[in-house]
């Protein structure tokens, strides 16, 4: 087993990985940029190495600096987390070439699956159902021709893509040119690769993905599905398992297809095979009718891995390290069952009322819920600055309960106890989704948020909220507020807490002079 692992990531996932390391008795090395000097993930590590300025390109995406940091600290492996360099085949190869272990699949598996065009061809060969489309074209005319053949609406997406970046839905030929141009620009910028592919757009699609896991000895299994259809800007915000839509037959079929997909690229370690699933096709299907299609494979740990951990009862991150060190994954497919129901909500620092624009600022309050069946994977604490440099994910709130209905109730109660001040969050938005009948009925598709869900924040603050804001004026320690000629007393607050958020407001001194 490894003695020391460098975690080439930041935020909640870096901390999640460090926890697993600590449990396995492995020492940890954090890396950090200028913006993360005081970040929580740095405090969680045994050692920390500064790797450059705030911009990711010059820090968390700089392979040489990260490998040098691992060498300098005598780490024997690197865990990439998700995002950043996690699906970069050259990085995985460079890590191996430096006599370090990359905790993940082989560079070759990453390369094969990372190219959306090439992987699609492979999947077809392996008998994995794929969405009708054309890959390997570049000229606008070829796209036009392909789109006509496939039939509008079509999806133009980056061949190197992921995370919804470099992806455009095109309703008719008039939109095609601008979509190609902007998808290309975004793809070039996000992935350094401007190749695009085109495929049939399935509007009522559900996003159902299968977790796979394998060792380096040929053992490869699936750990069931995650339903990730609640999305905004093509990014998941609520995930759950089991999916309320799958029958046992479909689940087994998709699981087998996912394992076939992974096997086709000699996959080992944790991976996720994403499918587009259309329940209408499932209910109409007779014999050869196809209800699910291969979308892509994420050759890394997934953001939403905790819901699988809770329902299957495995620590995926620990197992990532164990199989990377050469251990066998000592199970068989029949060993795994889904126990209860798990849901994850991603808390983002963003404003759902204005297009989910990220919100930045200093966290004046950050209080996480606790209780049975509640797990919070977060990368922030009170006083931290949420900057525009990185993904605005504040925390993942994950609940586990005996069934779906109780899991939803548990999530609703837990969200009420999650207090975040200083940045806008999507908490109210998440609550509104959870309370919606479409969500209860499992009818949320990947486009539901943009097309069916008209949410607006309450236009008026409650009277109670206004009263509380008024009282804040008099409960400030050391407030010079004069009322009726006498200084206000602060009931129940005898000592001045140096960390109190009350102390930040110079605006409180209004009327002092």
């Amino acid at each position: 087993m490894f003695k020391k692992i460098l975690i080439a990531n930041r935020g909640e996932i870096a901390i999640r990985i460090m926890r697993a390391c600590r449990e396995l008795g492995i020492r940890t090395v954090a890396v950090y940029s200028d913006a993360d000097k005081n970040a929580l993930h740095v405090q969680h590590a045994d050692e920390a190495i500064h790797i450059g300025p705030a911009a990711s390109k010059e820090s968390y995406l700089d392979m040489e600096k990260i490998i040098a940091a691992a060498k300098k600290t005598n780490a024997d492996a690197i865990h990439p987390g998700y995002g950043f360099l996690s699906e970069n085949a050259s990085f995985a190869a460079a890590v191996a070439a430096s006599q370090l272990t990359f905790i993940g699949p082989s560079a070759e598996s990453i390369r094969l699956m990372g190219d959306k065009a090439e992987s699609k061809i492979r999947m077809k060969q392996a008998g994995v159902p794929t969405v009708p489309g054309v890959e390997g074209i570049g000229a606008e005319n070829d796209f036009k021709k392909a789109a006509k053949e496939i039939g509008y609406p079509v999806l133009v997406k980056a061949a190197a893509g992921g995370g919804g970046k470099g992806m455009r839905v095109v309703q008719d030929e008039g939109e095609l040119s601008e979509a190609i141009e902007s998808a290309r620009r975004e793809a070039l910028h996000a992935f350094g690769d401007e190749r695009l592919l085109i495929e049939k757009y399935i509007p009522n699609a559900h996003h159902v993905e299968i977790q796979v896991f394998g060792d380096q000895h040929g053992n490869l299994f699936h750990l069931f599905e995650r339903e990730c259809s609640v999305q905004r800007r093509h990014q998941k915000i609520i995930e759950e398992t089991p999916s309320p839509l799958l029958t046992p037959e479909l689940r087994a079929e998709m699981g087998e297809a996912a394992v076939r997909a992974a096997r086709a690229v000699n996959y080992f370690n944790a991976g996720t095979v994403e499918f587009i699933f259309d329940p209408d096709l499932a209910s109409l299907r007779h014999g050869s009718g196809q209800a699910f299609f291969f979308l892509e494979m994420n050759t890394r740990l997934q953001v939403e891995h905790p819901i699988t951990e809770l329902v299957v009862g495995l620590d995926l991150v620990q197992w990532q390290m164990r199989v990377a060190a050469g251990e066998r994954f000592p199970f068989t497919q029949s060993h795994f069952t889904q126990r209860g129901h798990a849901i994850e909500c991603r808390l983002y620092a963003e404003d759902p009322a204005s297009g989910f624009l990220p919100s930045t600022g200093k966290l004046l309050q950050f209080s996480e819920p606790r209780g049975p069946g509640i797990r919070v994977d977060s990368g922030f604490t009170i006083g931290d600055e949420v900057t525009h440099f990185y993904d605005p994910l504040l925390a993942k709130l994950i609940v586990h309960a005996e069934d779906r209905e109780r899991a939803i109730q548990r999530m609703q109660a837990a969200l009420k106890d999650f207090i975040v001040h200083g940045v806008l969050t999507n908490i109210d938005f998440l609550q509104a989704v959870l309370a919606h009948p479409d969500f209860a009925n499992g009818e949320v598709t990947t486009r539901w948020v943009e097309t069916n869900f008209n949410w607006a924040p309450p236009s008026e603050p409650s009277f109670e909220a206004l009263v509380a804001a008024v009282l804040a004026e008099v409960t400030v320690p050391g407030s010079r507020f004069q009322v009726s000629g006498s200084r206000y007393q602060v009931p129940g607050l005898n000592e001045v807490d140096p960390y109190s958020p009350w102390k930040t407001g110079s605006g409180f001194r209004m009327g002092a002079n």
């Binding site: 624009l357 200093k362 603050p461 206004l466 008024v470 409960t475 009931p491 407001g505």
Partner: protein, 164 residues
């Protein structure tokens, strides 16, 4: 008695607070409540409002007040004086500002150009996303204050549109 004014979504709320022995009385128009503070600690207020127990979380950030009650958060802006009708916009309607810090990826228009409502004027990249800044109404581009590739701050004025 003190008078406080809070803005929220272009509405102003005016409240009076007075103390009466150990408790307080808050009034907004004809709504009046009596409040007892059971405890106030680290931004958490444990209150009795007309005898009903209410837990409120409150933070302040200059003029901003963050309040969470029953899991719902409101951001209020304390204003120094009562407003007399109407509400001032910080920027004129045709002044488009950067919603967040970022870099100008593409500039699609030039000064003097007529633009229809909804046309993408420029593309801002921030947090690895493309944000399209679009014309809010039919008009003419009167001023472009940024160049392609330029790094802009939040609230920085990017483009000015005049009604055509």
């Amino acid at each position: 008695m003190i008078k406080l004014h809070f803005d929220h979504s272009n509405q102003q709320y005016n409240l009076d607070l007075s103390s009466a022995g150990k408790s307080y009385r808050a009034a907004m128009g004809d709504k009046i409540v009596d409040i007892e503070i059971i405890q106030a600690n680290n931004g958490k207020l444990d209150l009795l409002i007309d005898g009903e127990r209410v837990i409120a979380y409150v933070s302040s950030d200059n003029a901003k007040r963050w309040v969470t009650i029953h899991g719902q958060t409101f951001v209020l802006t304390k204003s120094p004086r009562a407003r007399r009708g109407g509400h001032g916009h910080p920027h004129a309607a045709g002044e488009l500002t950067a919603p967040m810090p970022g870099q100008i990826r593409a500039l699609n228009v030039s000064e003097g150009e007529a633009v229809p409502k909804g046309q993408t004027l420029l593309v801002l990249e921030a947090m690895k996303m493309e944000i399209r800044v679009q014309a809010p109404f039919d008009g003419v581009v009167s001023t472009i204050s940024v160049k392609a590739g330029e790094i802009v701050e939040r609230e920085q004025i990017l483009v000015k549109i005049d009604h055509g």
